[in-house]
């Protein structure tokens, strides 16, 4: 067990720390997340450019596409994160364009596509949204129905997308559409790049139970885009999308969330008075806190184990599949305890008079995005059981008119 990064990284850490001491972005920040809920303002753009210049953002993107061109090194990335967090400095931009589209283009895009899109994306000048989910295609994403037909030199797109988080600020959309309606469902999909300023695109905000509208529905009515805006071959979109889905899983359910939640709970239980004592003195609240602390610590060290596996190029097995399920459940339980300890005050919300400093109720509501987004818990369990434990796949059956039928699939294999 060696939890240090080794002396060979001391110099790099010193260098990052030096940068952090000497640089600070302009103070002008807003409440939204730049590139997700709002367009980055000039201060954000300037900070991003400075980070790229020093290699603290877009670090491994090739120089020819505007990046810093460093070799991938997980420890270096980690050190950057640690030092920036310690110094209270904002990290580089994080949005779906940067985390999902750019790696995909680098892996399967054409030279022309890379040249056109990567640079503006990493510099925060081009904002992307993701056009995957549809009202009828959630867990079963491959059943999507939005279709695109070639008409001369254009794709003509019709259909509807949902859960498109930055659609209202985006310049572009990487979108999955059905182009070969006759093919089996995973083989009829293509991956297109759609400018959001085209006629026929109608964006409507989708308000969630927290009252916020971070998501959108996007209606597509005869939207025309150039034929060359396809990534990968026709009908290969499912495979192209899986390149990015891989990146998305890493984004959700970070084990770190729990740490600040526990810290908040400890303060809350020490400050809240119940009867004549502190909530901390009531065993039932404290015991719940301690159970949560135990799970949080376990998730934290589990994250270190996974990091160590990546650094050492070890294959991650079952242990890598479970983090999302584990972290989202934990967050829900943490915020639930916060609300419970507050009693009636726990119902207060959104800056009500007499509310506790922290909005525990809103955090609790916010958990549902994590619980459901990026694959429901049951889908996660299937993945863990099938890929992790090697249990048989589900039978491919169809329920039609009150009767079960076998799917006409050539490969109804249950093994892995």
């Amino acid at each position: 067990m060696d939890l240090s990064y080794g002396p060979e990284y001391d110099e790099f850490r010193a260098e990052v720390r030096e940068f952090c001491r000497n640089h600070r972005p302009a103070k002008h920040r807003s409440r939204g997340i730049p590139g997700v809920t709002e367009r980055p303002n000039p201060d954000v753009l300037a900070w991003q450019a400075k980070l790229i210049e020093h290699g603290y953002a877009a670090r491994t993107i090739p120089k020819e596409h505007g990046g810093y061109g460093a070799k991938p090194d997980i420890i270096e990335s980690r050190i950057i994160q640690e030092e920036f967090l310690a110094a209270g400095l904002p990290l580089g931009l994080s949005n779906q364009g940067i985390s999902m589209l750019v790696p995909t283009l680098l892996e399967v895009g054409t030279a022309e596509q890379c040249a056109a899109y990567i640079r503006p994306t990493i510099y925060g000048e081009m904002i992307w949204c993701q056009g995957y989910s549809e009202p009828g295609a959630g867990s079963d994403l491959a059943s999507l129905r939005t279709r695109a037909e070639l008409d001369g030199d254009d794709w003509v797109i019709n259909g509807q997308k949902i859960w498109t988080s930055s659609a209202h600020v985006a310049d572009m959309c990487f979108i999955l559409v059905r182009t070969e309606p006759e093919a089996p469902k995973h083989h009829g999909i293509s991956y297109l790049l759609m400018p959001m300023d085209r006629p026929g695109i109608d964006i409507r905000p989708l308000v969630t139970m927290t009252g916020d509208a971070t998501f959108n529905e996007v209606f597509l009515n005869d939207v025309r885009i150039p034929a060359k805006n396809i990534v990968g071959a026709r009908g290969q979109g499912w495979h192209v999308a899986n390149v990015t889905l891989k990146y998305e899983r890493g984004m959700l359910g970070s084990a770190d969330q729990g740490q600040s939640g526990i810290k908040g709970l400890v303060e809350l239980l020490q400050e809240e008075t119940v009867g004549s004592g502190r909530a901390m003195d009531l065993d039932h609240y404290r015991d719940r806190l301690l159970r949560l602390q135990g799970r949080t610590l376990a998730n934290k060290y589990h994250g270190m184990r996974l990091l160590s596996q990546s650094i050492n190029g070890e294959q991650t097995g079952t242990e890598g599949l479970i983090t999302k399920l584990s972290a989202t459940e934990l967050a829900y339980d943490i915020y639930s305890l916060g609300v419970d300890v507050l009693g009636e005050t726990g119902t207060l919300y959104n800056g009500s008079p007499y509310q506790a400093e922290r909005d525990w109720q809103k955090s609790l509501l916010g958990c549902f995005t994590g619980i459901i987004g990026g694959g429901s818990a049951n889908i996660q369990r299937n993945i863990i059981a099938e890929r992790g434990l090697g249990l048989p796949r589900e039978p491919q059956v169809r329920f039609d008119n009150g009767r079960w039928e076998m799917m006409p699939s050539a490969s109804n294999k249950g093994g892995n």
Binding site: S133, P135, G136, G138, S139, D140, S143, I162, L206, V207, T208, M209, G211, F215, E272, T273, V274, G275, S276, A279, L282, H284, Y285, Y332, S336, V339, D340, V341, L342, G343, E344, T345, G346, T347, L348, Y349, N350, G351, S352, P353, Y354, Q355, Q361, L364, L365, F368, T369, I371, I372, G373, S376, A377, N378, N382, E394, Q396, V397, F399, D400, M407
Partner: protein
Amino acid sequence: MHFGLSEEQTMLQDMLRRCLGERLDLETLKRTAGQPCDPDLWRALVELGVTGALIPEDHGGSGLGMLEAEVIAESMGRSVAPAPYLGTAVLAPLAWQLAGTPEQRERHLAPIASGEHRYGVGLTEVAGAPRHFGKVTLEDNRAWGRCYFVLDASDASHFLLTANADTLVVIERDAEGVSIEMLNDVDRTRGFAVVGLERTPFETVGESGGAAQAIDALLAAGRLMLAADTFGAAEAMLFRARDYSMERFQFDRPIGSFQGVKHLLADMVTDLEPCRSLIWYAAHVFDEQPAERVLHACHAKSLASEIGKFIARSSIEIHGGMGFTEELGLHLWYKRIEANRQLLGGPETVRHAAAVDQGWVQPLTATAT
């Protein structure tokens, strides 16, 4: 022997479900969230006799019992009805009848039955809530202090508040020195407020210092009604999830045909049904065996809160992404259940009260802040 609702009680239930169902479609609910009660809805409920249910016939009510009140509360929760039912139709009539003088009952009950008076009720001083305890002091026939989390406060004409944990006072909304600060709570279907008093004239319900037992009963009644409200809302969420799981196809089959969803729904109903039996029984003993009131109301509140939370969360999860949009409106039920869980004592608090009632432990002594 008959355990359950009588024919008349079932008719009352049907009538209320129909009335609320017709008036409270999803659009209306979404539109009115956060606003005071709709006067039309309230008039309809008054006409159905909701406000007179617990009031004797000679005071203009229908002289029904706690099980009928439970049926009404359950229907309110089922439709997440934005109406000040608990304060006006349950707690205020009980207070006057349990602690008031004959003259007071004569004077105050009829206007409740007729819908003329509406009551906001503040019991936080005795409900064992952390952080903010109300404290009202009485001196020279005037009241001073603050009461937090006054229920059904938004349209109240009167406030029924505890003072010194053994006295109940009623205050008119327009009286001298009354200040009302509305709170912004997660459930927007009912109105909670902090009521401040300064040199405010009041009327004591019955005798000063003589209402301790009545206050215990009010607290039990309030907890029982919140349990029923949660139960109704949870039942609605369970059956919406059931229906959705049969309509929603993924992977070419209804999601309810996957054991993952199927067994979750089975667990939800396995929790729900015994809880219904407990709530019915708690309502029954409230009238018939007063010594059992507190224990059963506390357990009803605790169990309904726990299973309500589980069912609410699971129903949203079964609905997938749509479950947490405003579109389907499920969040209205979810939030009502979350709020009910906290009001008049969260699960740990009411369980502690049940332990105190059985002589297992001493009460936590409350100190005002």
